[in-house]
């Protein structure tokens, strides 16, 4: 496959994608880096001069910073946890023979197509509203005090909404993975005397590890930057201010571009820490 000719062709064909992405990454990022060292306040006339690392210091020392990192990690972690656990269970269920598999699959996949904005609006208003929401009706029906989900259990609610959107994705990937398991392996385990639970633990789960890694990677990429769900539901209140949202507030609400840019650089660093960490696992798992 590898003649000199094809190698140089490969380099040329890779170039557009690499150059575009490099530009996409570098140009705005460089500008962000530049802003982050400036006192840049558009509402006060724009660039008011360099301030060294002041923005950086201010951003981390602000009382909102660590809680926002924590909220980010809780949301990402929570959604990953829920989607993977339920994704595995659901894919096991859907892998069994039953009537109407096609239809159920259509039902399960549907949330994936829903815009984040729409799903957040629907959940917030029609389900989680403490007076008119369906949950409130349900709670009242069982004689319980309705919960104001978005304030009393804000992080949980957001995790729930986001999980609902991503569960189909996890389930589908895991289901395909389960279906790709060589049935002879399960039979061998059965011959070896493994119970259904042992077969799950010793055969199916290890087989799924690769798929789980992929779910982990892709979802993390998307979850680190969730925005619409928070913007629509809590606007960052009740401890749901993620790093992304905090930066948004700095840049757009306070119109402090310098400070926000410093936050952006921190987010890039956080993303890269997570990325390196993920790539380690994924790289290893994808090789095997």
């Amino acid at each position: 496959m590898a003649t000199q000719h094809s190698r140089s062709a490969a380099r040329i064909m890779m170039a557009p994608a690499v150059i575009l992405l490099l530009g996409w990454m570098l140009v705005p990022l460089t500008m962000t880096l530049w802003f982050s060292f400036r006192q840049y306040l558009p509402l006060r006339g724009g660039d008011l001069g360099g301030v060294g690392f002041e923005n950086y210091v201010r951003f981390v020392t602000s009382s909102a910073f660590w809680p926002s990192v924590q909220a980010t990690l809780v949301i990402v972690g929570g959604v990953l946890f829920i989607t993977i656990i339920f994704g595995v269970l659901l894919s096991l269920l859907l892998d069994q023979p039953f009537w109407g598999q096609g239809v159920v699959r259509i039902l399960v996949i549907a949330p994936f197509f829903v815009m984040p904005t729409v799903s957040a609006l629907v959940w917030k208003n029609m389900f989680m509203d403490p007076v008119n929401g369906l949950f409130a009706h349900l709670w009242k029906f069982f004689g319980a005090e309705p919960v104001s989900w978005l304030s009393e259990a804000s992080l949980f609610s957001i995790v729930l909404i986001v999980s609902w959107q991503w569960l189909p994705f996890a389930t589908l990937i895991l289901l395909t993975a389960i279906q790709s398991l060589d049935s002879e392996q399960l039979e061998a385990a059965e011959m070896d005397g493994a119970s259904a639970l042992s077969r799950f633990g010793y055969i199916i789960l290890p087989h799924l590890s690769r798929a789980i890694t992929v779910v982990l990677l892709i979802q993390t990429i998307f979850l680190l930057s969730i925005f619409a769900e928070i913007f629509v539901t809590t606007q960052g209140s009740f401890g749901t201010r993620t790093l992304t949202y905090l930066i948004y507030q700095r840049v757009l609400e306070s119109q402090n571009v310098g400070l926000g840019s410093a936050g952006g650089i921190y987010a890039v660093i956080l993303a890269n820490i997570v990325a390196i960490f993920l790539m380690r696992i994924v790289g290893k798992n994808l090789d095997a």
Binding site: M14, L90, M126, T176, S225, I247, A271
Partner: protein, 276 residues
């Protein structure tokens, strides 16, 4: 494993699977149902499920208020355009990675993916300035480019995983048969990878369709897609569940229907090389 599954067990599984399926689908179903209610029925206590006076009023209200077709058309153009553009750029790149791998291939791939982790808000301001200078604000072209760039890493990765499964021998055969590189990709690789390309296209149309940050921030009137349409409904005054439901239904229906029709393709391809 192919032992006779008892009917009893199958029935139980059926019940369980349908229950879970309906539970997951319920929010969407409820939204669609609510969109046909009057506002009063939408908040009635106890909630009415099916037995209400079905009305199309909400849809006409929504349509009156905003030109749905224009938003829809923009969504189609932007989602479709960015995907097609992405595919055109990604196919050669994925070909290179899959068939002429080098020591750096994997690093490049992971680097590409990592660009997706950059927080969009962090670079919004610079992007806005760039767009102003290039005159791309509120143009479908500009948005198409941005969404293409946003999703390019995913496209490359997906195509790469499909291409890797295509035996290199077939491309070599084409080469022996006298095909040039272009012909090799056009006549042999692409047709063979159609299922993979199809699911890549689908996934990216969905991602682009639902992208709500750039589409909202870089458009005004002319290029605004459905995400902007829904942004004007997030809280109209007074009772609004039914109207919100109608607008939501209109925003998600096209992609939902497309997704359902092509779900086999999508599911088959949604594996990112996770399954081998």
């Amino acid at each position: 494993m192919a032992r006779a599954v008892t009917t009893r067990r199958k029935a139980l599984t059926t019940i369980a699977a349908w229950s879970v399926g309906l539970l997951i689908f319920f929010p969407i179903l409820w939204t669609v149902l609510t969109s046909f209610k009057t506002e009063a029925q939408a908040i009635s206590d106890p909630p009415v499920f099916l037995f209400f006076d079905w009305t199309l009023e909400n849809y006409s209200v929504v349509q009156e208020r905003s030109n749905y077709m224009r938003f829809l058309w923009n969504s189609i153009i932007i989602a479709g355009g960015s995907t097609i553009l992405g595919i055109i750029i990604a196919v050669p790149a994925a070909w290179s990675m899959a068939f002429v791998p080098s020591k750096r291939t994997k690093d490049i791939l992971l680097w590409m993916l990592s660009t997706k982790m950059l927080p969009a808000v962090g670079v919004l301001y610079p992007m806005y300035l760039i767009f102003i200078n290039l005159g791309l604000l509120d143009t479908r072209f500009g948005l198409t480019i941005v969404l293409m760039l946003v999703n390019l890493p995913i496209i490359v990765w997906m195509l790469y995983t499909y291409f890797r499964e295509i035996p290199g021998e077939i491309l070599e055969a084409a080469r022996m048969d006298g095909a040039t590189l272009k012909e090799e990709i056009l006549y042999v690789l692409t047709p063979m990878a159609i299922p993979g390309i199809a699911s890549t296209v689908l996934l990216n149309v969905i991602l682009a369709w639902n992208e709500a940050f750039w589409t909202l921030n870089l458009t005004a009137a002319k290029a605004a897609p459905l995400t902007a349409f829904i942004a004007s409904y997030s809280s109209p005054e007074g009772l609004f569940y039914a109207k919100l439901s109608a607008a939501s239904t209109m925003a998600i229906a096209p992609i939902l229907i497309m997704g359902w029709f092509s779900q086999k393709q999508l599911v088959r391809g949604l594996t990112f090389g996770a399954v081998k």
